[in-house]
């Protein structure tokens, strides 16, 4: 059995995931509203209750990669005349790097 379930769900804020959820199954959030969820009954139920859409790992990875690629492009395009590389990093943070889902 696969270790994880992959899916997309919109974080609606308070109550979206609880301390009890975190104790009951593995849960990590990634860009593009992608969630990696421990593959047990409670994890699967959580995704369903959050109106989530289950994805294959490759589909989820593609969503994350697309979001990171867009963030990289935005980072490259966000330039201020006369600004040094260090100043840019202070202003908008380091350039996003690729994320590989577990």
């Amino acid at each position: 059995m696969a270790l994880f379930i992959y899916g997309t769900a919109t974080n609606t804020g308070k109550g979206f995931f609880t301390a009890e959820d975190r104790r009951a199954f593995f849960l990590r959030g990634y860009p593009a509203n992608v969630w990696v969820i421990g593959n047990n009954e409670k994890g699967a139920l959580w995704l369903a209750e959050k109106n989530g859409v289950e994805k294959t790992k490759s589909e989820a990875q593609a969503l994350v990669t697309a979001e990171i690629d867009a963030a990289k492009s935005a980072w490259d395009a966000d330039n201020v005349e006369g600004e040094t590389a260090e100043q840019k990093e202070q202003r908008i943070g380091p350039k996003p790097t690729d994320i590989t889902l577990p």
Partner: protein
């Protein structure tokens, strides 16, 4: 490998039953001979989601506690002045910073905070400005001796501390604030920027950050000088912290990737790994002075995030208040009345409208009964009615007021139309007209029983349409036979179902208070007179309510004018609990319910709201059921080999 006896100096106790569980029991292990299980008591550490910020941003600062926090400044698409207050459930906008900036630090509490340092672009212009927040607005404080950004900052409004950062070179400088001016303190042992901090001015902690590379160094400040503490397990840039010098939790920041989720706890000498944040991020804000109750918000995951996470570390477990789906109404409706004195397993709705707001008032005469799972049809009201209200139970209640016309009367908005004074009782199967309320009315609020109820407020007298000129503070009492005058409220509470209780102990909250205005006042009724209890948390109308005078739940409605166009602007999903002393925020509803109604009980039991307008152009069949937060319970864990 050492066994338990070698480590603890004694053997595991054999007990007939679990010991009394207190903080003194934490860390103990025992064998329960009755259940045949090895048990222990340990802290439960976990992150859970909080309400999303209104403005997603990075490199912001924070202050306050997990349930009363402040987030301010940061970088959106440019430097920001935005300030938001967190209630433990929702973020709401507050007064803007005077100086937009990112990379700043914060200190203090939600009603007495401090913002200092940071930078603006272009050119990463370093900021020395300090600003003080009083719960609503920022005013200028004394300027930093050295302008800098990506700093560490801790303390309170009258005793702040800044350390490290870039000015523009990486700095070891420390400055102390006394409420009006900054003076030099002892320098960090290792100059760093983008470091984390916790504690107070005379007992602070600075950890991690970037010197010539990312570090895991910890230093402790005693009000005069910095000394070395234990190194963090995870080297990183830009973690945030919550707690004191000897009891801190650190979280987030960049590790080997641009964003990290690692969480560690410090006990004054050693850092221990804890459960990771759910969403890795850098440039986040933080608040709280407690290791057991941290708060992280905003930051970047590659792009700006509005997500909030709450960290809790406790030997107690409890379940937070929550809304869950109930049975759907047979058809969507709004502006109906409800029994208000029943419970979640036995209640009803009657009357209402089934057209979008602004499309007239073609009233309904239907009754729907709820059994805690599903709705079924009851007896029809004699005359269609909307904007109405009721009191009592599913089998013994009274309804009164609302837009209702004689059967042969003209439709709503017909020039010269007049609506009728009314009252009608339900016996569990059919409605019977009874002695009419002494006045016509719409949007009144009510509570009580069929033989001892209170109806009032809203708009009384006159014809439909000129509601604005008929807003009333008058209340009427019903004894099962006739109506008499009750006390007058101090404020107008119109177009709301946000009332609950019994004749001698009622409560009403918010409602329309004037043209285009919503009230924020909560008043109580003792059977004779009204008393203003509190105000200021939120101004809303069209909410539903259930409970008693000292344990009431209010939810839904609108917190701002709803534009005359399709959309959901102005709708309120917040919930507010009144305990007889204080009004506090609770869990959000899943969907919008404007001109909703509800019923239920208080204490550990539950209630519901249902129907209402879910968007300007539509109403909803949705029913949501509320479960209160449970009292914290200390539970021992069963230890297994798996």
């Amino acid at each position: 490998m050492a066994d338990y006896t070698e480590i603890k100096g004694n053997r595991i106790q054999y007990l007939d039953s679990d010991p009394t569980l207190t903080s003194a029991t934490e860390g103990q292990v025992w064998y329960n001979t009755t259940t045949g299980t090895l048990k222990g008591l340990s802290q439960i550490k976990a992150w859970s989601s909080g309400g999303n910020m209104g403005t997603a941003r990075r490199f912001l600062a924070g202050a306050g506690t997990q349930t009363a926090a402040l987030g301010f400044g940061g970088y959106v698409t440019g430097q920001s002045t935005a300030t938001e207050e967190y209630s433990g459930f929702n973020w709401t906008a507050s007064g803007n910073l005077g100086t937009a900036r990112y990379g700043l630090a914060g200190a203090g509490i939600q009603t007495a905070a401090l913002a200092f340092g940071g930078a603006t672009f272009p050119g990463a212009s370093l900021q020395s400005a300090t600003e003080e927040y009083n719960g609503s607005a920022w005013t200028a404080g004394g300027s930093l001796g050295t302008a800098r950004t990506n700093i560490g900052g801790v303390g309170i409004q009258t005793a702040g501390l800044i350390f490290g950062g870039q000015s523009p070179s990486i700095s070891s400088a420390t400055e102390e604030y006394d409420g009006s001016a900054w003076t030099a303190g002892g320098s960090l042992g290792t100059a760093r920027r983008t470091l984390g901090g916790s504690g107070i001015q005379t007992a602070a902690l600075g950890f991690a950050g970037y010197s010539t590379a990312n570090t895991n160094i910890t230093e402790e400040y005693n009000g005069t000088s910095w000394t070395a503490g234990g190194n963090m397990n995870v080297t990183r840039l830009g973690p945030k912290g919550s707690g004191t010098q000897t009891s801190t939790v650190a979280f987030g920041g960049a590790t080997t990737a641009p964003t990290g989720s690692a969480t560690e706890e410090y006990d004054g000498s050693v850092w221990t790994n804890s459960t990771s944040m759910t969403t890795a991020r850098l440039g986040l804000g933080n608040s709280s002075t407690s290791r057991a109750a941290g708060l992280a918000f905003g930051g970047t995951t590659g792009s700006n995030t509005a997500a909030t996470e709450e960290y809790n570390s406790s030997i107690d477990t409890f379940t937070a208040a929550a809304w869950s789906s109930g049975g759907n109404l047979p058809s969507a409706k709004r502006s109906m009345g409800s029994s208000k004195g029943g419970d979640i397993n036995s209640s009803l709705f009657f009357g209402g409208d089934n057209v979008p707001m602004g499309a007239g008032i073609p009233q309904l005469n239907t009754t729907e009964e709820y059994n805690g799972t599903s709705w079924s049809g009851g007896g029809n009201v004699g005359n269609p009615v909307s904007g109405t209200t009721g009191a009592g139970t599913q089998t013994a209640m009274i309804g009164a007021t609302g837009y209702s016309f004689a059967p042969s009367g003209p439709p709503w908005k017909t020039p010269g139309a007049s609506y009728i004074a009314n009252a009608f009782e339900y016996d569990g199967s059919s409605w019977t007209n009874v002695t009419a309320l002494p006045t016509t009315g719409v949007g009144l609020n009510s509570f009580g029983t069929q033989t001892a109820s209170v109806f009032g407020g809203g708009a009384q007298g006159g014809s439909p349409g000129p509601e604005a000129s008929n807003r009333s503070t008058t209340y009427h009492e019903y004894n099962g036979t006739s109506w008499t005058s009750g006390g007058s409220s101090n404020s107008v509470h119109g177009r709301t179902q946000a009332a609950a209780g019994v004749l001698t102990a009622g409560v009403v909250f918010g409602g329309v208070s004037g043209p285009g205005a919503r009230g924020d006042t909560l008043e109580s009724y003792n059977g004779t007179s009204w008393t203003e209890e509190t105000s200021g948390l939120i101004a809303a109308n069209g909410m539903g309510a259930f409970g008693t005078q000292t344990s009431t739940v209010f939810a839904g409605g609108s917190a701002a004018p709803i534009p005359s166009s399709p959309g959901t602007v102005g709708y309120n999903v917040g919930t507010y609990n009144w305990n007889g002393t204080a009004l506090t925020s609770s869990a959000n509803t899943a969907s919008n319910h404007m001109y909703t109604a509800g019923d239920g009980t208080s204490g550990t039991a539950t209630g519901f709201i249902g129907g209402g307008s879910s968007a300007y152009a539509s109403n909803t069949t949705s029913t949501e059921e509320y479960t209160e937060a449970t009292t914290p319970v200390t539970t021992a864990s069963t230890l297994t080999t798996s």
